[in-house]
Structures are given as C-alpha cells and as structure tokens.
C-alpha cells in the first residue's frame, strides 16, 4: 500500500512500559505492545489498582521466566501484528493475507531450535496469537514426515522396550502411511 507511511502508527503516542527479563535486560515497549502480553497486562492492571497515584510511565515489570532473546523476537512480531491489524481494520480477509505473508517471511529467520523457547515465552506472557503461530509452525515442520525424521528434528530417542514400538506401529499402521520422503 502506498499510504502505509501515512497511516497512523498504532503504537505511537502511548505510554512506555519497561520490561526486565530473567537475564537482566531491560526493554522499553509501547503500551499497546505490552498489553498484548496478557501476563504483563494483568500485572500492569494490578499495579494500577494498588497504587493509583503511581505514574504509569515509570512502571517496570519483571519477567523472571523470559530471556531477552525470545522477548526481542516476540516484541518484533507483536509490533508487526498490531500494524497489520490497524492497516486492515475494515477487511478481515486482507488482514489475514498480509499476516500470512509476514509470518512466512518471519519464519525464514527463525531457527527450529528457537521455536521451543519462543513457545515457552509466548506461553508465559500469555500472548495467544504468537503461541498459536509458533505451535502451528512446529506442527507444520513435522507434518507428513516419517517418525525417524521427526525424532531427529526434535532430538528424541526411542525409549520403548523391545517389541513395544513394533506393536504400536502395527496398531496404528494406517497413520504411518503416505508420509513424505525424508
């Protein structure tokens, strides 16, 4: 869209909220972004209720279960998410198309091993869209893949007793058919 630069930035002109990660890094984020993290929103609301006089601009919220690396990625994702939503406020279909396109590009820069920590961080922050997105990404990475491929992908080793795995393979034989070549 040509007028993207002119469209109002959804995250501008709002209070900043400071987040402190478990590895002691400090992130200053727009309130609109922070409020997408339900855990932060809950903390923020509780703080405001407890101390009505405190200025919100100086709020510092500790995130003892989130490291800076996944948080930085989640903030980037969240900003873009809000921007795409604001640009397509009147058209759900176009918003979904834009979002899908962005997510596809986004995943190109995420290593498979980062997904686990992103899922944990999104889950802790209770950021539903991101949690679903990263879980969906893992699901599609293993979709239609052989058991051997998925084990390697996850770094898992079989711990079944001898014969047990074969029994399962037999019981659910229909579910192992038609997988892609590794």
């Amino acid at each position: 869209m040509s007028n993207q630069s002119e469209s109002p930035n959804p995250t501008s002109s709002s209070n900043k909220i400071t987040l402190k990660t478990s590895d002691n890094e400090v992130f200053e984020v727009e309130e609109a972004v922070a409020m997408k993290f339900c855990t932060v929103k809950q903390y923020f609301d509780d703080e405001n209720n407890n101390n009505v006089t405190s200025g919100t601009s100086t709020t510092l919220i500790p995130l003892p279960n989130v490291e800076s690396h996944p948080l930085a990625i989640l903030i980037t994702y969240c900003k873009k998410h809000l921007e795409i939503k604001a640009n397509n406020a009147d058209n759900k279909k176009e918003m979904e198309i834009d979002m899908e396109h962005y997510e596809r590009e986004f995943l190109k820069n995420v290593m498979p091993q980062e997904l686990t920590e992103l899922i944990l961080a999104a889950n802790y922050l209770n950021f539903k869209e991101a949690l679903d997105f990263f879980c969906r990404a893992v699901a599609s990475a293993i979709q239609n893949k052989s058991v051997e491929y998925v084990r390697k992908f996850f770094g898992l080793e079989s711990d079944f007793k001898p014969g047990e795995e074969e029994k399962l393979r037999e019981e659910f034989a229909w579910s192992f058919e038609g997988v892609d070549e590794d």
Binding site: S2, A139, V147, Y149, R169
Partner: protein, 483 residues
Amino acid sequence: MAESSTQSNSKRQTLSPGKDAVVDRISILPESLLCHILSFLPTKESIATSILSTRWKLLWTLVPKLFLDSDKINTSELSLDDDEDVEEAREIMFAHVVSSVLAQQECGELQTFRLKWQFWWDGSHLDAWLRTAAARKVKELNLDIYTDRDENLKLPPSFFSCRTLVVLNLTGTIDIDIDIDIDIDIDTPSLSFNFPSLKILRLVRIWLPSIINSQEHSFLKLLSGCPVLEDLSFTTDHFEGEYKLCVPTLKRLSISEIEYNESDYELEINAPALEYFEFYGDLRVIKFYEKLNNLVQADVYPYDSDYEDEEFHRTWVFNIFAALNNVKFLSFSPDGTEWHNFGNIYPSSFQNLVRLKFKVDGCNWNVLRDLLRKAPTLETLVITKGYDFVESNLYWKEPQYDPANLSSLTSFYYRGFKVESRRKVFLRNYQCSQGAQQHVFLELNEVSVSTWHLLPCLFVQFCLPYIMLYISTTAVPNILPFG
C-alpha cells in the same frame, strides 16, 4: 537471529535434522504445550507421534480436537485387485479408525470434531460417532459428507443432541454423475433443531428445499432453535421458492448461489442487528424488514442475469440498497449489460459510506457514477476491472453538468488494467472547489491503453480534486502524472 543471542545454553546449538548429534529440544515443553502443537495436526498425524518415545505414546489422546478425513486413509497394504473391493475395504477401515479413535481419546470435553467423509455403502456409523461427540460436549462440529447413494443422507438423532455446539459447519456434496440431488437433509420432523449456544452456522450445499419449502419445518423454525446465532452463511446451488429468515441476534449474513438461477425466489430477512451482509448470486426479491441501522459492511455481487423484465430487476436492486443505506464499507460488482438501462437504482444518499470498491465491466459506468453522486463522505474509491470487461466506451455517456461532490475523497485506486509500455499519459489536474488539497492515489497497476481516454472523463465526471499519480509498476517509467 540465533547468533545475536548471548545465551550459552547447550540446548540452543544449531542443529538440523540429519546431523548425528542428538540434542533434545522439545522435551522441555510441558504436556499442555505439546498437546497444543498436536492440535494443529490432523488426527492421523497426531497419532503417528505416539511412537516417538514413551512420553508421546498417549499425548494424542489428550488433544481436544479431532480431524479425520477418509481421503487420507490408504489401503495399499491390502493389495486388492478390484477397485470396488478397495473402496469398500477403505470405507470399512475408515469407519473402524473413527470409532477406535473416539474410544481411545482420554480428554474430557471435545473442542472440535471435524469429519470429512466419503462413503458409498454404510452411513449408519455417524449416529454412534455423534453420540460420543455429544456426550463429550462438542463445541465445534464440522461435517463434510459426500455420498453417491440415491437418497439424501439424513442427519442421525444424535446430531440433534449436540446441544453444546457453538460452531456448526455442514457441507454436503452432490455427485454430478447422476441427476438426483444428494445432499445432507436436515429436515427431521420428529427432532428439533435446538442449539442454545450456537453462534456460527454454515450450511454449504445442504438440501435447502426440504428445510425451507415445507411449512412445518421451515428455515424460520430451524433458526428459531438458535437463539444466540450471530453468524450465518449458506451456500446453495440455487434458490427457488420463498424463504424467510428471522434472527434478531444475527450480525453477519452471507448468502451465495453456486449456479446461475433461472427460477424466481423471494427471500425475507428480518435481522435488525446485522453488521455485515454478503450476497453472491442471481438477484431476485430480497426484502429486509427494516433498514439496517447497524450495518458496517456489505459485499454485493449480483450475477449477470438474463432476466427479461428490466424494470423488475431495477426494483430488486433498488430495494436491496434501501436496506443497505447505512453501510460504511461497500463492495459492489454489478455484472452484465442490463445495468446500463436501469437509471437510478439508489433510493437515497449513502451518508456513512467511506470506502467503495466497484468492479467495472465497461457497461456499468453509469451505476458507478450515480452511486458516487450519492456518497458525500466517500474517502476511498477502488475501481477494479471486471472479468468480462468490454473494451469500448459504448456505454460511456458524456457527463452532464452535475459533478459528484467527492470532497472527502483521499484515495483513489484504479486497478487491474493492462498497460502498453512507454506510453505517455497526460491527465489534467483539477483543483478541488473547496481549495483543500487532497491526495488521490491513482494506482495504475496495469492500465490499458484503450481505457486511457476514459480516465480524464472519469475525473471530470467525479470532479476528482487533486490528482497524484501513483504507479505501482516499474515497467512504465515514462508515464507522467500530469501534462
């Protein structure tokens, strides 16, 4: 992104499947998150994870979503020669798979049950499956059923006991090889269609005559069993007869016909809370009980109709716009040549309209012109080229001196027209009568030379105030915005 991290966690080494090193990077996740990942997979693939390790063995049974598709069940290992035997074996096997999956699932409430099922012989299993789903308080049911048996598939009694449903999608498909309509028939006199929590209902190729035409079991009665319904869409081959629809809570309504319709029908809609209305099909009598005061968006795509009486057709369009008058965002795509003869089809001014998407086919310029005259608050105008665009100005009338007053217009997109490269184009620059500067984005993706001559007319016609040409293709560097 990985390099930028300062963490020295051994679990975060770069690893791709295929290398020898095995570093478990998934087991750190709790069971609930592993199940959440599995919920994005079809049930077949979710079950295949059961042999990854002992921890995964029963995880799939905890996923509250089921998606089973009979197309994805293979019987290659049975090595049967006869095609019919293969189909029958497949059908028996699929029925067995669904039954055993339902029996083995351990989680309590079932969030989603999605079943895509083709069958030729025995459809009786559905009753037992839906009984289980009902007992597990299923919230979303998605049935997509295809059969070529020569009678309609009746939904079983257990379907009507799924009282916890919030979302219901029913899709039936017709076998085109035979003449008789084979769809899902939801006309069941002895059982009531009663879903107290149902918010979203989609009916695709459901055998409508049975639910609408019969007096006792009308569509009206069916919908009265859904007291909180917000979103209704139905897609049918074509409408015929009289339909009534009364849903006070309805916010979204989509109606579409798949095939061209030669029959008459009458549709009465009583949905005063409607916010979104979508129509694809042959327009006939569509009556709204009242003007839709909460309407935000409407997408209206009437098919190209050969209806003989143009006056009737004009009245139908007129009536529909009388109800849609409060709309903010409108997409309108009037197909066919008859529109040219209609005269004014808009009962009154669109006082709230801010965005209009209009598809031109060369014969409906007058419909657009009339509409713009009635849209004083329009901010965005998107003109796209219709599929059957007539490359002539046969239907273009020179404007009379009655320019539309589009003083609020800020964006104008003209899309989908092909360009012959390196043609210079001179457009006149009009100053807005109020003197305010507005930016009009003229998005000329691909503008066809044969329509260039229309553009200046367009500007005179619509009195577009200040034109800024925005060209989104790099193939035509020589196009200049202003002469």
